[in-house]
């Protein structure tokens, strides 16, 4: 029994629809459920899932399509009622005033009447609407964090300049992570308060810095994201400089870590000058920069890896030893291919950087990296490859792999059929915004991979893991690592540690 319901001229964001479909699938008697906006991409996804019914084909892009397949009419009807109730708001708490009347807030003016001291707008609407909303936030005297991507660079520059003129900051577009005043925004981690401030043009890069600080029992004041394009010459590091100034003025911040992918020399000079101006000990981490460029400038230390930067901060600036940890199963040496299935873009970038510096492996990737070729078929890659599964091309019509592990799970299963797949590196990003149990969601697929390989008589693939997150994150760091340990998977406190261990397993076999 399959039923299609079209909700005309209605919008819900993709994450909400995905989570709704997931809840419906958990109802008794429901075999499959999909809930999507009826865009062309989503129609293709429904088709590949065998859910593109004749009724679904009639939907317009402004409509929501819900397709439910169940064992019986009753089960499907139950699912339909659940969806309708959800859209009617019956499954969530509504804001209400003192008389119990529902409050429907539609503007910054009404938002500010409710919270007069509101100081940050977290914007995650589709990109084409995001700039206009951010301008309205600035008009209302509110800083903006643009989680949305697909905002033009012209709009980005206009927004950032207007924010500065008004004594504010625009973080983003495409800013996925920040931790401000102890609160995680977007995808962020919980860490104790300390005296280290972070400015980063990379979401998972910030999360990795926080992970390594937490592993060394250190805390932060704030982690301010700027969006990946902030260091492009057209933008001129407007928000990075503003964020550095903010941490410079913040008396609780004693040390500053700045993190980005490599940038033009002129932009780096701007960053360097801003850090010098704060007078605070600082480290600049430029993931993937040439090692020979990693030297001190005007007292500011530079590193080409995140772990290297944190080590400098601890040992040279704080005067304490850097602690790293790993739990390995003393795997046998391997001769075959090494791959990385990453949900964190900067972690994939860092892996490419380390592998290209320390090995002569022929690598491919969907991440643009100097000297690395493009993976020819990203859905069925061969050889040595590092994939960022959060890249736009892989997230069309589905949530980011930090929320939805299904694509990576499929790839892990497919790896079972590749005889030469020797090492597979996985990052598990925990914290607010991420999947409730990222390791638990992947383990059944690793076990399936092992079973298939055993049946085929292939050598087992060595899975390596890095849990990116803190001991205070809601997914429970030690619970995640315990599951890895119980499944005989080696895990590492840093991404760099995992990659270097992978290299060592392969090098020993030469």
């Amino acid at each position: 029994m399959i039923k299609t319901i079209i909700y005309r001229n209605m919008y819900q964001d993709s994450v909400k629809l995905m989570l709704l479909a997931q809840r419906v699938r958990e109802l008794n008697g429901i075999e499959e459920c999909s809930a999507v906006m009826a865009t062309d991409n989503n129609m293709d996804i429904l088709k590949s899932a065998g859910l593109l019914t004749d009724e679904a084909k009639e939907a317009d892009p402004d409509d929501i399509i819900v397709v439910i397949r169940g064992e019986s009419n009753e089960a499907v009807t139950e699912g339909e009622i659940y969806v309708s109730d959800d859209f009617a708001g019956k499954h969530k708490a509504e804001l209400s005033d003192n008389n119990g009347r529902k409050i429907n807030i539609k503007s910054f003016i009404s938002a500010k009447s409710l919270l007069p001291d509101a100081n940050l707008a977290l914007i995650s609407v589709p990109g084409k609407y995001a700039a206009e909303i951010a301008h309205k936030a600035i008009d209302a005297g509110i800083n903006a964090m643009l989680f949305s991507d697909n905002v033009s660079i012209e709009d980005e520059v206009r927004l950032k300049k207007r924010a500065i003129e008004n004594g504010l900051i625009v973080m983003g577009p495409d800013c996925g992570t920040a931790v401000i005043s102890g609160v995680s925004l977007g995808f962020g981690n919980t860490i104790k308060r300390g005296d280290i401030g972070i400015v980063g043009a990379s979401g998972t890069g910030i999360q990795e810095v926080i992970t390594l600080l937490d592993a060394n029992d250190l805390g932060i004041t704030h982690a301010i994201g700027t969006g990946g394009r902030d260091l492009q010459p057209a933008v001129g590091a407007i928000s990075s400089v503003r964020a550095i100034e903010m941490l410079g003025e913040d008396e609780n911040t004693k040390y500053i870590v700045f993190l980005s992918k490599p940038a033009d020399e002129s932009i780096l000079t701007i960053i360097n000058n801003a850090l010098v101006k704060t007078g605070k000990p600082s480290v600049v981490i430029l993931v993937g920069m040439k090692s020979e460029q990693a030297e001190k400038k005007d007292g500011i230390a530079y590193s080409d890896t995140i772990e290297g930067g944190i080590k400098i901060l601890l040992e040279e600036q704080l005067g304490i030893s850097y602690k790293t940890s790993k739990y390995t199963f003393q795997e046998k040496c391997v001769k075959g291919d090494i791959c990385g299935l990453y949900s964190g873009g900067t972690l994939a970038f860092e892996a490419l950087s380390i592998l290209s510096k320390e090995t002569d492996l022929e690598l491919s990737s969907n991440v643009i990296f100097p000297g690395i070729s493009r993976t020819s078929n990203i859905y069925d890659p061969e050889g040595n490859f590092m994939l960022d599964l959060g890249e736009d091309e892989l997230t069309l019509g589905r949530a980011h792999p930090m929320i939805n592990p299904s694509l990576r799970n499929e790839m892990i299963e497919n790896l079972a059929y590749k005889k030469n797949a020797s090492i597979c590196m996985l990052d598990f990003i925990i914290g607010y915004g991420s999947h409730a149990d990222p390791v638990g969601a992947v383990l059944p697929y690793i076990q399936r991979n092992r079973k298939i390989r055993a049946e085929k008589g292939f050598e087992q693939t060595v899975f390596l893991a890095h849990v990116c997150g803190t001991r205070m994150d809601p997914q429970q760091y030690y619970r995640q690592t315990a599951m890895l340990k119980n499944t005989n998977i080696s895990f590492f406190s840093s991404n760099a540690g995992m990659v270097k261990y992978g290299i060592s397993l392969r090098n020993q076999s030469v």
Binding site: K106, L115, L120, L122, S181
Partner: protein, 55 residues
């Protein structure tokens, strides 16, 4: 108030983020946002004809 002293958020878009902020006891208010309704070509032609006085 400076957000580096206390952060108070207006969330627009993914309701999921509001839920995550509330779990952290962050003060947050959600703006109920919907994209502007698109208008079909037929209706647009009709409106243009009305504007141009050509019924």
């Amino acid at each position: 108030m400076n957000m580096l002293e206390e952060i108070v958020v207006v969330n627009i878009g993914l309701d999921f983020f509001r839920e995550e902020l509330e779990k952290q006891d962050c003060r947050v208010v959600n703006i109920n946002w919907q994209p502007p309704q698109s208008i079909g070509d037929g209706a647009l032609d009709f409106l243009k004809k009305l504007r141009d006085g050509d019924k």
